[in-house]
Amino acid sequence: MSEGFISRGFRGRRQQSEQSGRIPPGQYLERGFPVLSAGPTPHTPLAAWDFSIVGEVDQPKRWSWDEFRALPHETITKDIHCVTKWSKLDTHWVGVSLDTLLAQVMYDASYVIAFSDGGYTTNLPLDEVTGGQAWVVDTYEGQPLESQHGGPARLLVPHLYFWKSAKWVRGLRLVDDDEPGFWESLGYNNHGDPWKEERYWGD
């Protein structure tokens, strides 16, 4: 059959159904990149910025901005899903895998609390941020991560709702016992799997 017999509408519906399989229940496709903030945007100078791993570790580990930038960076393409129901497909990031960061510390812990400038925290099981599931990213769509989106660096944990991808991240505290973070302590699901619609307490 020649191209002329296939209508534009038919092609559009096939692309839509390919995408719909990638959008979790209750979500809609967003082409922009909404900004949700709980406070003023931090502006930590890079000379003062560091990233630390502390808590249940033999020795806390700290990287300056230059040291962090010198770590092996990966290109990451992932779909992201916000609990406020928007999803973005094929977002492009560059950053350091948490596997790379955690390989530089001796630790014995079950959970991580990510902490950020401004006091934000979010909690995650350690086995959900290792094995290629999480990064600290400093580049979005080929550009340095803008401050309104969490720059200079944010956590990226794309398999969970995006509140777990803490903006302005400054470190991880490794702990034995789980501690609900900023939103998890006030009605939002402790885990946050978009494919199970784990939005709120009791979901």
Binding site: V35, G119, W163, G187, Y200
Partner: protein
């Protein structure tokens, strides 16, 4: 693009919970000790919830979430909440 508003917007959320005029309710900050009417605080509002911050020291005064059939309030940043009758 921080969704920063004045506290009158947050007072609207609190009106659903408290039977008082909440823009005039006073909050004493546990961070710096200053007292402000809620209308004079800084409110950050978006789809996840509302964060009310002290206009002087940015301390989180009140966190409000209305989700999953619940109203949730965290007021650990407020030492005293005063609401006038009438």
């Amino acid at each position: 693009m921080e969704h920063k508003l004045d506290g009158n917007a947050a007072a609207g959320n609190l009106q659903a919970i408290f039977p008082f005029e909440m823009t005039l309710a006073q909050v004493t900050c546990t961070g710096c000790g200053t007292t402000n009417v809620i209308g004079a605080t800084a409110a950050y509002m978006h789809g996840m919830g509302t964060i009310v911050r002290c206009p002087r020291c940015d301390n989180v005064l009140i966190r409000i979430v209305h989700a999953g059939g619940r109203h949730l309030l965290d007021m650990r940043g407020v030492r005293v909440l005063q609401m006038k009758e009438g």
